[in-house]
Amino acid sequence: MDKDLLLKEVRALLGDAQVNTDPEALYDASADRYKKYAKARRVLDVPPPAAIVYPRSTEEVARLLSFCNEHGINVIPRAGKTSTEGGLENWKELTLVIDALHLDKILKIDEYNMQATVQAGVPLQKLEDALRERGYTTGHSPQSKPVAKFGGLVATRSIGQFSTLYGGIEDMVVGLECVFPNGQICRIKNVPRRSGGPDIRHIAIGNEGSLCYITEVTVKIYRYFPENNRFYGYLTKDLATGIQVLREVMVNGYRPSVARAYSEEDARQHFYHFHKGKCVLLFMAEGNRHIVDATCKGIEEAVAKFKDGILEQVSSELIENWFNHLNWSQQDIDDEFEGMKEKDSHDGFTTEVSADWETIPKLYDNVIRRIRSEFPRAHDLTLLGGHSSHSYINGTNMYFVYNYEINCAPEDEMRVYHHPIQRIIVEETLKLGGSMCHHHGIGKYRNEWTQQEHGSAYFMLKKLKEAFDPNGIMNFGAIFYQEEGAKFQK
């Protein structure tokens, strides 16, 4: 099948209005934020998709998928377009992007049973606003909240800034509906818990569009008590101290909604007005009053225990002020893009990993040391550091951040800067037994390590792909390594 025929067939399937072939839109759809710099400079090396299509119902999704499955056409599911790891990047000549634009309804807010059901194209902010009006919250708050939509949030196993209290998206999803390449529509019912065999929600959650298309999601909702929010901030001697305090709070059973430790350099880009060149540790306690009181006590005790590494406490107003300016709007994203058209620098590339408590500080040191000594363009780095922002009883994450000046041609940015750094981070993480992908998904550029990430359990992952997507039409290159795509990775 060639492109013209494909377009004809798809138009016949959905009608002209639901098929977009505007060249600008297709250029935009050929890559995501992973290659945002090359994209802004208009030097993308990947092909554009044939079209972006906008189904209006689960049935239309099913029809589209079985059509593509039959004709071997690559499908990229798309929701809010905030993907950061190449999940939306196109590596095939014949590709349809299936965008959840019209799957935009909040289907039900069930206050008594504390759950809400939405279609995949509903922005998280839209549900959150509707819930807040009634005194509830989803508890999910990734920085991309104003823009990201449920399909993408579930498909990437996203996590929000209040995860230490509410968990990641996997802790929130009660049930969902998804469509497989053969057109099969599956609904997973909404129950508090069950022991009905393996938890099949997890086949859809985190699939990154490589197994199925998510059309509908039901999530838990929580009572919202903003009046009880309390904030704590500290300057610490080093990052390790911050991590020790985080651990102390967690293992004592407290669940502050925000619990973060920043390295010096990373602190500078968020807290230039008070960090004084030091590391920053901060907490937010949230929820009903009694729990907040207890949590605050737990935080104060943990801080007291490690007081030797704590340099000073920061006014809680400063932390609250930071908290109120956390999220990125579409305008922010567009602006960053605008800025990159002119400026030869990159602020805000990240690689997010996780490991147990014992490993994280070592991992951090190893990574920083290797980048400083091995990365040939280390002299172009304007920032290198990281923070821990999601803690668990057994460990935490490390969000490595690096900014640099770009002194090469825009089309070479990835291979000259990002990839060598990312490689060091991933290698060091896997070496120490951590996970190379804490919450952005594997995307298309870390797929060469997927097998190593999962080890012997990769067998299970591979079988899922073979079983659910035997023709390999779902998001070519995402999660699973593809020889044919290697040319775009180098």
């Binding site: 230039y272 007005h273 107003e317 002020n321 602006d335 960053e336 800025g339």
Partner: protein, 316 residues
């Protein structure tokens, strides 16, 4: 002991040159020195009656922009009068003359002196470094005059003591035909680009509905208006005057921020700004941490009142 101080009188910055008397006052006390001016014949008439001696260069080959010849003049004046200090305004040309003269005299030179103190009989020179982020105290070594340049408006001469001025021609050997010639001189146009303005009055989310009213304050200070992205987003200012990561990077000498919180993306657009004044209702707004002065309260009230005050003028 009466000291001797030489001031170079730059015809392109006459008033700024005369202000250097105040720098000399700080060094030796208003009555502790005899002031000498070095001028080209026919320039800087205002110096008459304010300095004790005017050494006048009459060789027509010496032009105000010819640093090589002017450095020879400074040297000749010093060889004759043995100054304790030589002060040169940090004007466009003063900045080129001073280093050459210092080299000829084999003396140290401190540029852009921002402050002068006397400590235990010694003169301490303070200058800004690292784009205004640091102040360094500089000491000179060896014999020879204390040589400095001073940026305009650093010292304000308030008490003008009238003196009777001796005017003496200065004979300078070794003047050459100028190797630099002026082809054209045009008065500077007011910078259209915020990057070129020395003074910026910048407005943000806190006062965005009144953004248009900042212009009058900017005008009273001879500067331009700029904006944070919040104002640009609201369609109240054009993108080309946005300061920050996705806007312009600016280095004015004075930045007045009204109703701007100071997000890191905004602050990334501020490079080497000398003086920052912030007007904000919230004294904890991040930008306050960079400010020399914070006006805590309503931004428009500040703008209105300061504009009125500026128009009224006077010493204050």
């Amino acid at each position: 002991m009466t000291r001797r101080v030489l001031i170079y009188l730059d015809p392109e910055g006459e008033a700024d040159s005369i202000q250097l008397l105040e720098a000399a006052n700080r060094m030796y006390g208003a009555t502790g020195y005899r002031s000498y001016g070095l001028r080209l014949a026919g320039t800087c008439p205002q110096a008459e009656g304010l300095l004790d001696v005017l050494l006048q260069v009459e060789d027509p080959r010496v032009r105000p922009y010819d640093a090589a010849n002017l450095a020879r003049c400074v040297e000749a004046a010093h060889r004759k009068h043995h100054f304790d200090a030589i002060l040169i305004p940090a004007t466009t040309f003063g900045r080129m003359i001073a280093p050459r003269a210092a080299m000829r005299l084999h003396v140290g030179l401190t540029a852009d002196v921002a402050d002068i103190h006397r400590e235990k009989g010694r003169i301490e020179l303070v200058r800004a470094a690292f784009g205004g982020r640091m102040r360094a105290v500089v000491a000179h070594r060896g014999r020879g005059p204390l040589m400095i340049t001073v940026r305009k408006n650093t010292f304000t001469l308030d008490a003008r003591i009238r003196r009777s001025t001796d005017i003496a021609p200065l004979v300078v050997d070794g003047i050459t035909e100028p190797e630099v010639t002026l082809v054209e001189r045009r008065p500077a146009e007011k910078a259209a680009d915020i990057r070129e303005s020395e003074v910026l009055v910048s407005g943000g989310g806190g006062i965005k509905e009144h953004f248009d009213q900042l212009e009058k304050l900017a005008r009273a200070l001879g500067g331009r208006v700029s904006a944070s992205r919040r104002v640009v987003d609201a369609g109240l200012a054009p993108r080309r005057i946005q300061v920050g990561q996705s806007g312009k990077t600016v280095s004015p000498r004075l930045y007045i921020a009204v109703g701007i919180s100071g997000s890191i993306q905004h602050v990334m657009g501020l490079k080497e700004v000398d003086t920052i004044i912030v007007a904000n209702t919230d004294r904890n707004a991040p930008l306050c941490s960079l400010a020399d002065m914070v006006v805590e309260g309503d931004g428009m009230e500040f703008v209105d009142r300061l504009t009125k005050r500026l128009l009224k003028g006077g010493k204050g």
